[in-house]
Amino acid sequence: MLLRSLQTRIVVFFVLLLCVVQGVAFVLISAANERIAKTQIAEDLTVGQRVFLRLLEQNSQQLAQAASVLAADFAFRDAIATRDRATIASALANHGRRIHANVVMLADLDKKMIADTLNAISADASFPFPELIETAQRDGKASSIVLIDGRPYQLVVVPALAPLPIAWVATGLVVDDAVARDLQELSALQVSFLSRTGRGTWVVHASTLPPVSRSELGGSLGSMRGTATLPLGGEDFETLLLLLNELGDSEIAAVLQRPLREGLAPFVELRNTLLWLALASIVLSIIGSVLIARSIAGPINRLAGVARKIRDGDYSQKAEGGLQGEIGDLAESFNHMLERIFERETKILRLAYEDTLTGLPNRAMFSDRLDQAIKIAQRNGGPVSVLIMDLDRFKLINEGLGHPVGDMVLQEVARRLRKLLRDSDTVARFGGDEFAVLLPTSGTERVGIVAERIQRALEEPILMQGQPIDLGISIGIAGFPENGDDTIVLMRRADIAMYVAKRNNTGYTYYDPSFEQGRPSQLSLLGELRRAVENDQLSLHYQPKLNLRSGASESVEALVRWAHPERGIVSPIEFIPFAEQTGYIKAVTRWVIERALRQCGEWHSRGLDVKVSVNISARDLMNPELPGIVTGLIAKYKVPVALLSMEITESGIMEDPVRAEKTLQQLHQLGIRLSIDDFGTGYSSLAYIRKLPVQEIKIDRSFVRSMLEVNDDALIVRSTIELGHNMGLTVVAEGVEDHASLMLLTKLGCDEAQGFFIAKPLPPADYERWLTRRKEMGDKVTESGFLSDLRR
């Protein structure tokens, strides 16, 4: 988690990098150093060995010289010549002292001892080192390290010359610690002299080692030869064993040593320096990277702080200025961004809470204010009233006169509403033609007055391009606390009241809990519809169409009815749009087609050929399986295809003309008669319709109903009939509700008519009866009589 911070990451990265580099360098250098040191020590030992041997040789030379001088001394020779052992012995001692010899021995030419300064000699004793005399005979002198009385001596044998050899003089220096120290001084090595007998343990005779190491030396040597590393007194010594003399089974050796520590010392020093250097650079890099990281992370952290404030909606704080480089650029951009966000947020807020068309608060703001008003009212105990209203017939204005006119109407409505209310009241537009008013401190009495004032204000026609437009408004009222203490509940209840007002055409209505009974939610409606299809609660009624040329009725429009077990008959207007939204319309349509074909097939089997038309929705046209389903059902109920026709609303085709056209073509190829329903309400042109495989158009009932009063509508009906005929289409008029309309349509040449004046939608049995009666009457009465009879 800690590594998340930029600062820590920078520091950790650089410090780790440095540690790795330093570590690797340190290990490499240390390894190289140790190798060099070992080589160096081995070389030192070799050099030391040469120096040591050279020194030993010099010592023996000096001793030999001294001995030669001694042997050549006339008085000494004189003493020898006396053959008096006591004299000779004292002369030996005297002259030996002169040259600082520790031992002087005299042997005759037969290697028999004459005198010895160290020990009394027995008669006929031989010189203990005859090979030295032999060497001296050959070389003039001989030298060796020997053991006398268990101590090592450097012994030199020279002849006493008079001037030919008359005796052998052996002089010796004891090899003791002092000698070892001398050798150490010159060779720079630890020097020890040891001996052993019969491959036993080495005995140390002289050494420069400290007492502890010295005592360990003999034992630790073992059978070592040449060079090795020996641990002594807790320290490692590079050790070289030099065999100096081998006499019988006894050996005398010198051991030269150098402590590894000594050889490593310069390298240890170097290593320590390196270590300090590494530590120092790591510390410096930590400090450096912390500083750099801070200079980066600090401003970033402060920017993050500002960003947090912005997140919380506080735009007061700005990023610090005056920073250099990238961070400075960032801070500057940050501040620009902050300003822009503030501007945009203000704008968005306005957009979010305001209706752009009218400048009124929108639903969200209305909701907020209602919320606030309720809270205040809860504290103060006052009433709050909500009015939700919907313009009547606004859809007609919008579709008939165009959206720009619709928008202007809405603006005018907003203006009027605003004008007749207090400033403390809120007027909002919820979208479409839905408005709302909040009276934050008003109860039932004032609300009624306000509602009536609103109605009056909107009763006055709105002049639009010189034309008066009549508006009506339906108002639903809900109030706090009597209808609820929650914004959503109050608004919903006002809404419900508004629908009730609209349905009952009462102007304004106060909410009543009874409104909500029998008003199922859409979700349960879907379930109920499904059950209705499955349980056969749906039924088909057939509305006859009258052939205006022959006066006969040969075709019907199948219309679905829902006999709800609790709510009674539910109008298709209530559930068909909903079924279309949810996609369940496909099942409904299938049910309708099947039921219509079954009926048609039944009639056909009884010799009654009735052309049945069913309504197809836009959704159905998008269903590629529809032609197949229809084919299957036609075959199943053995219905001649010519008896089936389908009605598609103009707007349904226009939703997706390409796919609609494709499906229509397939249906057409099956031989099904196709009809455009509600013609004139959409925006399609006849030219477009002509491209479609349709055979019939149905003029929308709104034109037919008003064609007797409104001149324009009569013109539309007339021209539609003429154009339809010109394109070879059959023209059917819907919504024929009186005799005059039927007469006019007949006069205009309309092919067929349909409407309550002719017959309402009838169950199959009723239709058959109606048909029978119509035939009986048609044989004996006039056309007008027949028609007036139908009106009953």
Binding site: A72, R77, I80, Q137, P159, L161, A162, P163, L164, I166
Partner: protein, 208 residues
């Protein structure tokens, strides 16, 4: 230098031989292992019978050019040997040989008193100033001795008939030579050949 004094001894020996015409002679030829003639080897005869009393002749051991000259001076027991110093530096002649221990401390010219050699045997001479100087005086208890010359031969004349041990000695001889018994009759000449193994003296320091 040694060669110059050789005829002098021969004259002496010849004089002895001429005194007794009936006497016998011994001619000795000495060579080394390589066959080269050996110079200054002393050939001597020890009579097995009673020794003829003959007065010993004095000997002379010169020191010239920091060397003893000749290398070997054979003398009869009781002979006086003088040590004339012919160098312009002093010498200190000594001997620690059991046959005669003496010293002539730093002198030049000829010391007034000659040294009497009264014991038979080899007397090795040295100089305490010059360690390399070696000389030998061989003291014989017989009047019959002679040194070989450069040719490696030596001749003893005027020897009375009788039985002798014939012996030879050289300072550089590695080994003692076995005496030979010979019997001399009047006027006979005995020829004897010797082969010696020589080695130079050891341990002598080199001459300056």
């Amino acid at each position: 230098m040694r060669t110059t004094s050789a005829p002098h001894y021969l004259c002496v020996l010849l004089a002895i031989a001429c005194g007794d015409a009936a006497a016998a002679s011994v001619i000795a030829t000495v060579a080394d292992s390589g066959g080269a003639p050996v110079f200054e080897a002393v050939v001597y005869l020890l009579p097995t019978g009673a020794n003829t009393a003959v007065a010993p002749r004095p000997g002379v051991m010169d020191q010239a050019n920091k060397e003893f000259l000749p290398l070997v001076v054979p003398v009869q027991l009781g002979a006086a040997v003088s040590f004339p110093n012919k160098d312009n530096i002093r010498h200190h002649v000594y001997s620690f040989s059991p046959a005669k221990v003496f010293q002539l401390k730093l002198y030049s010219g000829t010391p007034s008193k000659p040294v009497i050699f009264d014991k038979p045997g080899v007397v090795v001479l040295g100089c305490n100033i010059h360690d390399w100087m070696v000389g030998y005086i061989y003291v014989f208890d017989t009047p019959y001795f002679v040194k070989t010359g450069k040719t490696g031969t030596a001749r003893l004349d005027g020897l009375p008939a009788g039985e002798y041990e014939l012996r030879i000695w050289h300072p550089h001889s590695k080994s003692e030579f076995r005496p030979r018994a010979i019997k001399l009759t009047e006027s006979m000449t005995e020829n004897a050949e010797f082969q010696l193994e020589l080695s130079p003296p050891q341990s002598a320091p080199a001459k300056e």
